[in-house]
Structures are given as C-alpha cells and as structure tokens.
Symmetry: C2
Subunit: 192 residues, 2 copies
C-alpha cells in the first residue's frame, strides 16, 4: 500500500511519514507549491535526507491569493491556512487513494474538522490518515528526536504554505509578524 | 520507554498497542475491572495471544454504578462510558508516566475531548497517546487485518466496560438492547 503524505520538510510531516512507513506503507512525499517561491526545494532536500520518494505538485496561484485575502481580513493566519490545506487535500484526493498529513492534536492550523475530513473521504472515495492527531507536543517531540535530527529557528527556509504567504505579505508592504505569531520552525536534516 | 495501554482485547486497543510497539515503546496492557464480572480474563487471553505484558487493575464498583445511573437516565451509553473512561485514565495517570488507549476518530464513546485530555496530562504530568485518533474506520480495518486475526460477533465475551454494564442492566431486569445499540464486537485471536 502506498500513502501520499503532504510534506513541508518540517518535523511534523516527517514524523507522520516515519510512522506510516513503520506500519508498512510505502511513502510518497508531496509538496504543494503555488508558484510564488521555489520553496519546494527545501522540502525536497529534507525528503532526500530522510530517504523517501518526493514530488512537487503545482497548484493555482489563485488559491494562495484567496487565502492571503482571508489572512489580511482576519489579522491572523488560521482561516487562510486551513482554506489552503482543504483545497490541497481535495486536489490530491483526486489523484491518490490514501493520503495523509502531519496535522497534530494541538494544532489550530492546518487542521480540518471531522465533518470536512469525512466529506473529502466520501466525495473522493479515499482514505485520509493523520497519524499525529492523537499525539500531544511532549510525545511528539520525544518521538521526533528518536527518529530525526532537525534544525530549529525562527526564519527557516521551508516548503510550507507559510513561506509563500509570508513572501506575498512582504510584497504588499505588510509586516509578517503582524499576521504570523512568532513560533519555532523545524526542518529535518537527517534520519537517526 | 514504556507505555501503559488501556486494553479490552478488542481490535482497537490491540491495534493501538501494535502501533506503539512499532514506534519503539515497550507495551504494558492494562484492563480495568470493577469487580462485577471476571471479564478481564478475556482481555488477558487476547493479550497473551498477541504477546504483550498484561495486568488487571481493580477499580471501585462505585464508578461503574454511577455510570449505570447515567445510562439509565439517558437511555444510551455515551455519557456513562465516557465517565468511566475518564475516571480510569485519571487513576492510571497516578501510576504511570505514559498512557494510551484505542479511542479512534469515528468513536463517540469512549472519547475524551481536547480539554479533558489536556487537563489529565497537566494535573498528573503524564503523556496521553491515542494512536488511532487520526484514523478512519476503513484504514483501521485494513491495518487491523494486516496485524491480527480476530473474531467478530454480537455478544462476544470481552474485557470492556460494556460487559460489566450489560450484566448490571440485566441484573436490574432491563433489556440491554434498549440501552446499547446493536454493534459488531471484535476480539483478537492471534498475531499474524
């Protein structure tokens, strides 16, 4: 069985792939890119480091522009990020039978609610797996440290939705920190 | 690292233990028993079949009597079952550092909400893991079939909360089927 894991290169999506691989799935990592930056290269680098297949899938720029609009309106990223994530899952669900991501228990975004998940599973007749959904941050950190070495920082070059949105915010003369609360980012360097 | 997994002998808690073991945890299966029936023997049998350590922990009869009261009031088991599960987790959290269960994405009971989970983690300074929380029934069935052989039926002898509650209902002259909707139960027979 093959599972397609939405992949940014960060700790969470890397750990999700690791767990699914341990359960016997073959892993295909997929990075969503909206043509704003070539940030998918950072995800590819991490994918190579942990030894799983990787592909980048290009999405309409329109999706990220709509998300940007929501973020500017709201003053924080939750709704916009969730919108992108849902659109990405819907597109990927058209192509693959089993899809997964690194959303976790304590995440506010990206995070779909149960009715959105079931709707995607039913409409596209697929299985959606979120292996970290029942895992808190403490457990997650100790598991991640067991399998991967990663770097941490405030402005890591990553392949997540945030990278392209931050670039767009700057292009419009906005301050990123007015919209994205400070948080530590991670990027996987190697498998242990 | 050792994890204590609340265990009934059924498909879900067996799969939760399997996943955690694959991630490198040593497994201790724990069955909660309220002194009504010796139904823990069925859980012990399943634990032996899948090769993990097992213990039975005795709880106050009072807890299951309170749950019974709720079920009689409500006409369905959700609130009562969730009450037992929360009380059991709280007791187990006093003894062990990492605890887990087989609650899954599509379950209504037992199932704690995020604030209850965090409250237990914080009050007892433990980690709580629900490995099936991000997994739907389709994926769950295909994973379970890959690791275990199990029997299915309507009135299996099991070590779950339901067994003791059903017995109490009958003792009070009530019809079980008025309170528990018909559902297929599973019990693990062997590891594949």
């Amino acid at each position: 069985m093959e599972v397609t894991v939405l992949y940014s290169g960060g700790k969470d999506s890397s750990l999700a792939a690791y767990i699914l691989n341990k359960l016997g799935y073959e892993i295909r990592l997929l990075n969503a890119n909206f043509g704003i930056l070539d940030s998918w290269r950072h995800a590819e680098e991490a994918a190579y480091a942990i030894g799983f297949d990787f592909e980048v899938k290009k999405f309409e720029r329109k999706i990220v522009m709509e998300a940007l609009e929501m973020i500017l309106q709201d003053g924080y990223p939750r709704r916009g990020i969730n919108y992108i994530h849902r659109r990405v899952l819907e597109e990927v669900a058209k192509e693959y039978d089993i899809i997964a991501d690194g959303t976790r228990r304590d995440d506010k975004a990206p995070c779909l609610d149960l009715s959105e998940i079931r709707s995607i599973e039913d409409r596209y007749d697929i299985e959606y797996i979120a292996p970290l959904r029942g895992i808190g941050y403490k457990t997650l950190n100790s598991l991640a440290r067991m399998c991967y070495e990663f770097e941490e920082g405030n402005a890591l070059l990553k392949g997540d939705y945030e990278s392209e949105i931050r670039y767009l915010l700057k292009s419009e003369g906005k301050k990123e920190e007015d919209y994205f609360p400070k948080h530590i980012q991670t990027k996987v360097i190697r498998r242990i």
